[in-house]
Symmetry: C2
Subunit: 576 residues, 2 copies
């Protein structure tokens, strides 16, 4: 391609409304343009990258034996009513009415449609297992679309759905998809982690997310320093500390703390070590206990994990924090002065709290705290549970090393759905014994357009994009200097261009009449991995200048050796 036929749409200004680097760079490099909130047009350069991701996904899904289909984007409400999701799904579901006033939605996901297809097409256990997928435009009416294509309303997704006779078969396909996802993100050249995940509203009982590691990631993930363990921080277990609480070494004392309303106040004003303070968080109770409220204890330096807390039978779901009024009415003190000693409601302690000695907590009277509290001596140890988020340095739940916390961007998600949809929609096949068996399902998604943004978050520098080789829109850029003035430069450039094209290398020849500085800046901004500059000065010495996108300095290579040189560089894989 030549830039005269494949124009670049780079811009110098950093758009004001772009918050994250991938969004800024995608706009500046001319990959996308905004049409409206959460709606983006992919320009030719961006679409080349998107198609590369799409192609890798398609090849690997086919390799795994999945069958590509194309379901309509517009879905009839009736099917969503069968599973109850028409009412459950919030305003993220873009609902619409056709000219006959029938209800439809613009599909954000396709469980209902594929289950309808399966119940019509699948008759016998002999047809199982089967795995259908599609690569399709989806719509989710995000309340606050942002970060460009990272959290757009319309986006390209690969969604796959597998059907099985039983859980064992599902587990096999789930593992195959897990492996396929690893291959896909490896082939994309991304540093990623598969992590244990919550199954959330989509249902089912086993799930992994695939996260591209990047400082700007919206999710925190925890992974083992030495083992394979990785999980969303929300899900990672904070293991029980070794041993019991040390014996008491301080007397219990009631201290007036008129200015201490938070743990930070306590630490600062009374020199209490934060890891020996206890936060008392009051939430609504479930019907399982004879109390309207329940108290949860976590260490002052720890965070309550809402998902873990909501899984306790004593706690109401969804988790709801008590209001100050509720707390005052029931306990007689404000939220800043609560503590486990003498608390008139059920209490649950985090594992890390259960091994504390000589700790401080509120006295359930405004402006007073207990210092030197000890379990057993001063108050009974309440029931103990894992209630907190893991932190960097916690022991890894797999027993191998410690946990590291990193930020990640979720680009894939796989679920063992079980029979949630097939039961609701009566999707069955005849089993070996001739009796109807409800299908068991898995589903597997990849945010194809989000992968592009995630790749950029992970691969960029101050000059612009630094594509992993498999995603680069072009592999090599040819930059002729003063092309209009030098026949020799034109001739050498065209020869290299033809040689590279003939060798099947994706090459972009910048034949614009612009200053060299503009050319260099543009080509670095759009992130083409290999750059060759052809100028009269080099040609005098029979050379051209080569520079890898990540290289510090250019090098001169013989004019006659460009193709072998590049072949070697390309075979060597991505520049470090």
């Amino acid at each position: 391609m030549r830039t005269s036929q494949f124009p670049l749409h780079t811009v110098r200004e950093t758009p004001a409304d772009a918050e994250v680097i991938s969004h800024r760079l995608m706009l500046r490099a001319g990959l996308i343009r905004k049409l409206a909130a959460g709606l983006y047009t992919w320009l030719p350069l961006g679409l080349r990258v998107l198609r590369r991701v799409e192609q890798i996904v398609r090849e690997e899904m086919n390799r795994a034996g999945a069958l590509e289909v194309a379901m309509p984007a517009v879905q009839p409400a009736e099917l969503w009513q069968e599973t109850g999701r028409w009412d459950q799904y919030g305003p993220e579901l873009l609902r619409l009415r056709d000219r006959h006033q029938r209800d439809f939605c613009f599909g954000p996901t396709h469980e209902e449609i594929i289950t309808d297809l399966a119940r019509n097409e699948l008759r016998s256990y002999k047809q199982l297992p089967i795995n259908f997928y599609q690569i399709q435009t989806k719509f989710r009416d995000e309340i606050r679309p942002r970060f460009g294509v990272m959290r757009a309303r319309e986006f390209l997704m690969k969604d796959a759905y597998s059907f099985h006779l039983d859980e064992t078969s599902l587990a096999e396909t789930y593992q195959a998809m897990f492996d396929t996802y690893c291959r896909i993100f490896q082939r994309c050249g991304l540093d990623f982690r598969p992590v244990l995940a919550d199954t959330g509203s989509i249902g089912g009982h086993s799930s992994h997310e695939f996260h591209v590691l990047a400082a700007s990631g919206e999710d925190a993930i925890a992974f083992s320093s030495d083992g394979d363990f990785a999980a969303n921080v929300e899900l990672a277990e904070a293991v029980t500390p070794d041993g019991n609480a040390p014996p008491p070494s301080e007397p219990l004392r009631l201290v007036d703390t008129p200015q201490a309303r938070t743990i930070a106040d306590l630490v600062e004003q009374y020199a209490q070590p934060i890891e020996r303070t206890v936060k008392t968080l009051v939430v609504a109770a479930s019907d399982a206990v004879e109390s309207d409220l329940v108290a949860l204890l976590v260490r002052g330096d720890h965070e309550l994990n809402a998902i873990k807390a909501a899984k306790r039978p004593e706690v109401a779901t969804p988790l709801r924090f008590a209001t100050e009024t509720e707390i005052r009415e029931r306990i007689g003190a404000g939220p800043g002065s609560l503590g486990p000693r003498g608390l008139p409601i059920p209490v649950i302690a985090d594992r890390a709290v259960a091994v504390l000695a000589d700790f401080s907590a509120g006295a359930n009277r405004d402006g007073q705290h207990w210092f030197g509290l000890n379990w057993g001596r001063d108050l009974p140890l309440p029931p103990v549970a894992d209630l907190r988020n893991v932190v960097d340095g916690d022991p890894s739940p797999d027993g191998r090393g410690y946990l590291k916390i990193a930020r990640g961007i979720e680009v894939g998600h796989i679920f063992q759905l079980g029979r949630k949809y097939s039961e609701a929609m009566k999707a069955t096949v005849l089993g070996e014994d001739g009796k109807a068996v409800t299908l068991t399902m898995g589903c597997y998604g990849i945010g194809v357009s989000r992968v592009v943004a995630a790749a950029i978050e992970q691969h960029h520098d101050e000059r612009g994009l630094c594509w992993p080789a498999p995603l680069a829109p072009f592999t090599v850029a040819l930059l002729p200097m003063k092309r209009d003035k030098s026949f020799r430069v034109r001739e050498a450039t065209d020869r290299i261009y033809q040689d590279l094209k003939a060798a099947g290398i994706d090459v972009l020849l910048d034949d614009r009449d612009v200053r060299p500085g503009v050319m260099f800046a543009d080509i670095e901004l759009v992130g083409i991995p290999h750059r060759i500059v052809i100028g009269d000065k080099g040609l005098d010495a029979g050379t051209v200048e080569y520079k890898g996108r990540r290289d510090a300095d250019p090098q001169f290579i013989p004019l006659d050796g460009v193709l072998p040189f590049l072949r070697e560089r390309l075979a060597a894989g991505p520049t470090p």
Copy 2:
């Protein structure tokens, strides 16, 4: 592929609601399944065909220098309001509201979106001409979706939009797209005609449709027996007959015709030759004449062409036929007894009517007709115009032979839009003189999913689909007989399968445990062009059986010569 991994979804029953053969066969062969009215899921086999069409379209568009983009399907109403189409477009436009109650539509076409992109991205005449395209899911809320994917609501479309400094540049790209479309449909293996077309509601002033010829086509097209002329029947000119009207040979006479209310009655009851009868059709007049009604004369055996009639300045647009009440009030007779002699409203005669002699027409009195009418002698010749549809055998407007009428399925449409959208949306660039120039536009569509249905309408027989080679989902089918019982058959089949795969031939091995008759019927139904049967009997003689999908009889070929034999057949192109 093996059918064990790529299952066929053939069904025996012909679905009740499928009216046309392509719809029936697509359902029976398992290419598509209906989700709801006008919404179809493409099953793996159908999607392979759809992707082949898509790939041919993409390759040829790229070859023509067009740049692929991907615009959102969901479009903000504001842009449609700028061009006025938000109000003009009928209920075919699927309108929707997002969670913030903002108006959007699911795009049926993208003129507004691309023009918005162009006005933001294009600054200078140096960036012109430029041609953007996308291959995308569109939605048109048809009042009566039918014929399967032929007239679906959601469908796959290739839409392209070009931008130019002037009409000359537009004409060049228009011609390039014309040639590209011819190459695309040729490469698809289709018998097609580019035809002159009406520009309709999309606007602009030059347009061609591309029709796949098929008896079931919704459109009638006229093309020259000897020349290149081809046009939608609605648009083809009925040329002025040679010479003048013959001299009168009959006396004028008023005849009581109490039972004659139609031309057919007149022909049957009074032995009038139909080609010497005249129909008088009364329509609403425009402001250009001092009358509320205007009469249009066409020969009894001809049809009024509403588009041509509406182009006459005397006639109101859109064309509206007068009611019987209006006619009686104004003329004093019913619609079955009208004629040009003594008619108190303006009259326009079709060219074929102007050269009649001794013709019959109503007398403007109920139950009476004039026979033996002659222009000049009995009544003055009114203004003459081309008012009728051409018929088979009419002279061709290009002077080369005569017109043939065929049915066609519209699969492509190209338009010279001019400045309709760019003016409304103020899309300009700076011209060579530094002054703003409004962009000139062309647009170019292909109904990608409709091409699949059209190909089937043209290529099928009583046993099923007969794909043109470039669209076939698989090129060769391998059918092992009693595979489960014969090691030799399994071995020979697997060897051929591996050989063909290694040679890059798309092969489907039917490894199902089904009767040979079921296998034969399925493979013919899905229309795989080449079939090889491997059985013990043939292997005894060192042969396998080959049959082309269109061949009357199979032939035996040496087991060792399968690949060279197939290579020769494939190189020879489609079977006749």
